[in-house]
Symmetry: C2
Subunit: 419 residues, 2 copies
């Protein structure tokens, strides 16, 4: 059977697939698709069933990820991969991940009858992208590329009742090979990794952009815990010049860094800075006691490693200056570093070139992580198309308009036909 490729049928296929999987994985207001667990299995099974119905080939790799392709396309590698993930956070939204797999399926169907106009295409429904379940992201893509740290396999699930190794084994993954760091695929066979994903921030809604091109996926430098240590004292009896107020020291640090951030944005740099946790000591603080200690986190994200490193150094320098000025001391836990990933310039240009006349395609950085970062950092030319989405992500209120989605899919399809 030859699948339909009219606009109406493409829309109907997308809507029914998204609705079927939402219904089958519903959990309260949202959906729950556990990494290497129940909801993810359900989503992958529905995708495989739909592939059968549409006469697409489907197979499962040794990391448990699902691959779809056109059976009539017998050409050799290199091939393009259109991928995204099938899992979700607990009570998350339906579109984060799933939309990118559905996009790939629509494109496969759309290539039917003219697949030789584009390079070979394979659709990859990845498992385990969300860190919410095992405290580690990109489980399916890292396993596939032989890059999952072996220790990750022993991580407990968030409820403590299972380990990743047990869950992966139940899903048919070759945990022994993954533990050895064996690549389960020849990366040289992949010409490019392409992903459609909802934006997880509010920029596109605010700017009025239905579709945008992703320039890179921000890496980050992070301290989960910095302690500023001063000296507590009577709030009435200690004058300003004898205080070692840990809170005013942290307030000054954050205000200085916030101001630097503002200036660096003006100068065109890509970055965001967040202190998500900040607290005086719950054991000993009081309204009339000068705070002797404050604990806080610090995170900077950027597409650019140099920006990350320099802003981090600037933060440490400001800490040193504040230590001298305010007689306090900063203590840092281990610094955590996640490498940024740059999307391929050739694919960015190609996607821009095939935009409909008059549609100016904007470029934005992805603040959240995506499997595309794993492929890009493994040397695979990678590209991402963001779809406008209201209300952020990781919550049941994600709201993607199907017209925006179809515009993004069409853009990606045209760019593949232009290769």
């Amino acid at each position: 059977m030859i699948a339909c490729t009219t606009v109406t049928d493409t829309r109907a296929l997308a809507e029914s697939l998204l609705a079927d999987i939402r219904e089958a994985t519903r959990d309260g207001l949202g959906v729950t698709r556990e990494s290497y667990g129940k909801g993810e299995n359900t989503a992958l099974r529905i995708l495989a069933d739909k592939a059968d119905e549409l006469d697409l080939r489907h197979e499962t790799d040794r990391a448990g990820n699902l691959w779809l392709s056109l059976p009539e396309d017998q050409r050799d590698a290199p091939y393009l991969v259109i991928g995204s993930h099938a899992d979700s956070v607990p009570q998350g939204g339906n579109f984060d991940g799933l939309a990118g797999i559905v996009a790939g399926m629509l494109i496969l169907v759309g290539l039917r009858g003219r697949h030789e106009d584009a390079p070979p295409v394979r659709v990859l429904a990845l498992r385990g992208e969300e860190s919410a379940w095992y405290g580690k992201a990109y489980l399916g893509s890292l396993s596939l590329l032989g890059k999952l740290p072996a220790a990750t396999l022993a991580r407990p699930r968030r409820d403590g009742l299972d380990t990743l190794s047990e869950a992966m084994t139940r899903c048919g993954a070759d945990v022994a090979a993954i533990g050895r760091g064996e690549a389960l695929i020849d990366i040289a066979d992949i010409a490019a990794y392409l992903e459609v994903h909802i934006e997880q921030g509010p920029i596109m809604v605010n700017r009025g952009w239905p579709v945008a091109l992703v320039t890179g996926i921000r890496g980050n430098v992070r301290h989960n815990l910095i302690r500023c240590i001063g000296e507590s004292g009577h709030s009435g009896a200690v004058p300003r010049w004898l205080r070692k107020d840990a809170l005013l020291a942290v307030a000054e640090l954050l205000s200085r860094m916030d101001e630097h951030w503002r200036v660096l944005l003006q100068m065109g740099m890509d970055m965001v800075m967040t202190t998500g946790i900040c607290s005086t000591s719950a054991q000993s603080h009081a309204v009339s006691v000068i705070p002797g200690e404050v604990a806080f986190s610090f995170e900077v994200r950027s597409q650019d490693t140099q920006t990350l490193e320099r802003f981090y150094t600037l933060m440490r320098e400001e800490c040193a200056a504040i230590e001298r000025a305010r007689n306090v001391r900063f203590e840092f836990d281990d610094r955590l570093f996640t490498e940024p990933a740059i999307m391929d310039a050739g694919w960015l240009d190609r996607m821009e070139a095939v935009a409909a006349p008059g549609d100016k395609l904007e470029r934005i950085a992805s603040g959240a992580g995506h499997d595309a970062a794993v492929f890009a950092n493994a040397g695979v030319p990678s590209g991402m198309v963001f779809i406008r989405n209201e209300n952020g992500s990781h919550n049941p209120h994600e709201a993607m308009d199907i017209d925006d989605f179809l515009a993004g899919v069409a853009l990606l399809q045209r760019s593949m036909l232009s290769v």
Copy 2:
């Protein structure tokens, strides 16, 4: 019997009284003298016994406070009161309060044989100055002046096992009269209230001042809880211009107020500012989540009501400016106000005038509260002499040098003789 007045005997009397009461109320490293309770009763009994030994008159008022005077001094009011408190915080230091009572006793003894050179003097050993036991300070002095709010009598002790009313009754206080707000003394009879007390901050140690004159007792304006409400969001995906970061808003507020404070000190104003409590929401904060809410306290203390009010208004104006600039909202709990107390200019000048030649007496504000504030705000001319003390107060490590103490006592005695 006529008590000795030589320097050596005065020192020996002070040392033995302080040592006896420390020993009798010892609790671990420090002392514990519960307001209207065991340790305070012990201290007052030792003081009364010593009064008997020294042939001083002692009597107890209807609030349970102990009065000492020279039996040979038969002159009518008005009289000078030398007062301080006999209680301590749990495991506190020996000198906070007690030193002022001992000072009064030394002065009484010192006036023996020449009491007509000074106005009549009465020494007042007050109960219940520390708020640590019933959450309310100045219990003895407020009761004496008919100013204890009736509701205070129902307050539970910190261990919840007793009420103030029960404790006061056991100590012989006329709780009915106190509850009616009846003045237990004719305030017009008091010519002045004078108090010797250790400094509870580090200024005098740092400046090298053994003795200093107190200009006033700071009042304060306080909010126990201000909430800054912004909007939480993904730390990677929300750009600066769309953030409503509650923590950066509070950091900016505190940094601005800290800078205003620095400038106002330069301009000669008396004030201290403290945010003792500040925290992102422990239920929902995370390293990678923009803080949507921060809870914090705010306190400003000053000797000057106008400074308090204006700095408070400035703080509210900065909150309003930050609300507009950062799209956050500040919510305030009830504002609490404690009136400052001004020490009497005549007594300040008199004490300065009798300082030993070459001893420049410095003037400082008291950041902590004292019974002198109760008398001053009731219209009694009041004066305070601070004694240098290491390691703050309300802890077992208070360290007052006996030489400093005797210098302060001598100063007060000379000033009384100059009236």
